[in-house]
Subunit: 421 residues, 2 copies
């Protein structure tokens, strides 16, 4: 069957003719259907059984063009395949931390998955100052599990390569290569920034030492195929409520550096932290929420490091490629193995700082900011957060090789914001 | 057509029915055919026109099993596809430095290519003490051209990923992962070593610091997809005469660290250097040949570094991914770009030392030595070369981060052999 765009009329028949979905709703169910895609690349339909709203699903269909401009800007529908492939792996290794996948239709580029009706996109409640006490535990598990189990510390060499071969993803990777690591730091028509931080933007673009380090991080991003990373793990890719956390939208997934995902989470939390200088004028309320954010950052890293290492100790197999267990079978080998694990985790921290640092910069001067910051209407107040973000990003990046604990990264945030308190 | 093994009878008909080969020999040519495969994985047929020996070709057919043990040890015939794919790239980027590819038959796993009738496998004349004055120039060109043009310094992001997707090569990569970076340093039945160096072998296997660094190099080997590397570039993969050099047998090719190929060449030259303490008893003749080897090592690196950088300056495109030229378009950007190139080249040197260092160790205690050393019949004399190789390998690996020029690596060779002069 060739591709056709789903709509609120034809989607009922579509569901009935898909073997994996035909029995999802009772035959006589009255379905409530609405399209909620707020982007411009996909249709996103929520389909609910009116008599039993818990009997519901989402169908997300990738369109072959940017929806806002009609059919004129082709974009690979293959992104739906990558999203479905990644969701499979996330459900396998981090069950309960991603939406359940019901069906992938490779001719229609349509993914049917669990509807998360009681969750919100995390960015929004964080702008309102809502705390999520379970988030650090959940996201550190997601990171540790998806990264460890797709790395050479768990898989055999051939298993890893065959899994990696399913994530070539050359078109979406190019978007990140351009929009995170290249275009923001040179003339490019899509860049935009607050004129009030123009001095800082121009300084970044013409700082030779900084640009060398950005190039080094781009090399790591492109070439260090450590594990299956989500590759777009900001707080807009997290659906959350007080009890539950789900990571969505993994269409950028590929085998890349683990620190990229960890850095994306931590860096987005810091951006939210900075946004509260505008969103939360009351100093006490602001300090309280910002303290929660820094505690969460500390907990995420420390729990991630602890869980990653525990997974490794408990799951490494005789044929895990880096290294098979008996490689460490010599007097003192147990300590050497422990030292090796610590080295790997220290390397992830360094890359968390490096990739997170670059991502601060790109959000302030590239194609797209984050809603936490862009929703600050007063340009002066927005510039306060933006300047701090640029300074923090630069330091995370430039000082990454001397970072030894998460407190070093938090310390930079505190130093660069102390004048704002 | 299904696979069948070629033999000296059916190969004439085979050639006639292949479109790319049918007109290679005149219709009435008398063909002289001989099988010369000295390995146990492939048939290698040389087919010559008796009236005109320059009218000749080689057909190499991959067998689905290890030939020595009959059909009992299956091995992927896909290696023939990887060899053909790599030969295509080598001919594209380093024409004249690899055998010309005439045909690849993906059902028969047969490669038809140029016959190099006046060349020898380089290892053999080097054991006899033959100098090759043009080798440094040739091999440095091969390295610079094949590595630069398949890297992100030349290709766009999508071009690189699509090329990389043709070299998954999970089975042959596993062989190197095991036999270079893992098994030699632990108990494994295929390991063998000279009992006279047993102390050194046991010391390597139980040295925690050394084993951490071997694991780090294995990580680089597996995960740093810098360029299309040959991945088995020892002097047994080089066909040579006084005028001409060709790199053969690239079936292990994949996207890996550039330093692996450079390190393989330099390390094999040092092993030959060491072998002459036995092969060339006359001190003057030996010193003369060893001096040529060290000069060649120096020339290879320095010419490689110079050619690699020149290719980069002359060929980088607006869409080369690391980085597009206008990324460096700011006051001082030209110097920053030059500094970036030097950083990349310094990184290749460091990895040359690291991967080369590991390869010294594996040849002394793993599944297979090199003929330069194994052909030394007296175990005492062989142990002299083997001990030096282990010491040099360990130091290249452990000291790689403080290596700043090729003379540092040569210096280690001289220091570890001065008591032998």
């Amino acid at each position: 069957m060739p591709f056709y765009p789903l709509n609120e009329e034809n989607i009922r028949d579509y569901i009935r003719q898909r073997p994996a979905l035909a029995d999802f709703f009772p035959p006589d169910a009255r379905l409530h259907i609405r399209e909620v895609g707020d982007g411009n690349l996909n249709f996103v339909y929520i389909i609910e059984n009116e008599e039993d709203p818990s009997n519901s699903m989402v169908i997300k269909q990738a369109l072959p063009f940017l929806r806002v401009v009609g059919e004129s800007w082709p974009l690979t529908q293959e992104r739906a395949r990558y999203e479905a492939e990644a969701l499979k792996e996330h459900n396998k290794y981090a069950p309960g931390l991603a939406p359940e996948l019901y069906d992938f239709d490779e001719e229609m580029y349509a993914i049917a998955m669990e509807y998360l009706g009681t969750h919100e996109i995390m960015r929004k409640p964080m702008v309102r100052g809502v705390k999520f006490p379970k988030f650090a535990d959940h996201i550190s598990s997601f990171l540790a599990q998806t990264l460890y189990f797709t790395s050479d510390y768990y898989l055999s060499g051939p298993e890893k390569k065959l899994l990696q071969a399913r994530f070539v993803n050359e078109e979406l990777r190019k978007l990140q290569e351009d929009f995170v690591y290249t275009n923001p730091y040179k003339e490019s028509p899509e860049n935009n920034w607050n004129p009030l931080v123009d001095d800082e933007v121009q300084a970044v673009r013409s700082d030779p030492a900084l640009k060398l380090e950005i190039a080094a991080m781009k090399d790591s991003y492109m070439n260090h195929a450590e594990a299956l990373i989500h590759a777009d793990l900001h707080t807009g890719s997290i659906m959350i409520n007080q009890e539950d956390t789900r990571v969505i939208d993994p269409e950028f997934a590929f085998f890349g550096p683990m620190g990229y995902d960890v850095g994306a989470v931590l860096q987005n939390l810091v951006l939210n932290y900075l946004s509260h200088y505008a969103h939360t004028p009351d100093p006490e309320a602001r300090a309280d929420y910002q303290a929660w954010i820094l505690d969460t950052i500390r907990d995420i890293w420390n729990q991630f490091a602890e869980k990653f290492e525990r997974l490794w100790v408990e799951n490494a197999r005789p044929d895990s490629e880096l290294m098979p267990l008996d490689y460490w079978d010599f007097p003192g080998g147990e300590e050497a193995f422990a030292q090796y694990r610590q080295r790997v985790i220290q390397h992830i921290l360094e890359e968390t700082a490096g990739h997170g640092g670059v991502k601060f910069l790109r959000r302030m001067m590239g194609i797209v900011s984050v809603w936490d910051i862009s929703s600050i209407e007063d340009p002066e107040k927005r510039a306060v957060a933006e300047r701090a973000a640029i300074h923090i990003g630069k330091r995370w990046l430039m000082e990454r090789k001397s970072v030894h604990s998460i407190d070093d990264l938090i310390g930079i945030v505190l130093e660069e914001t102390q004048h704002l308190a």
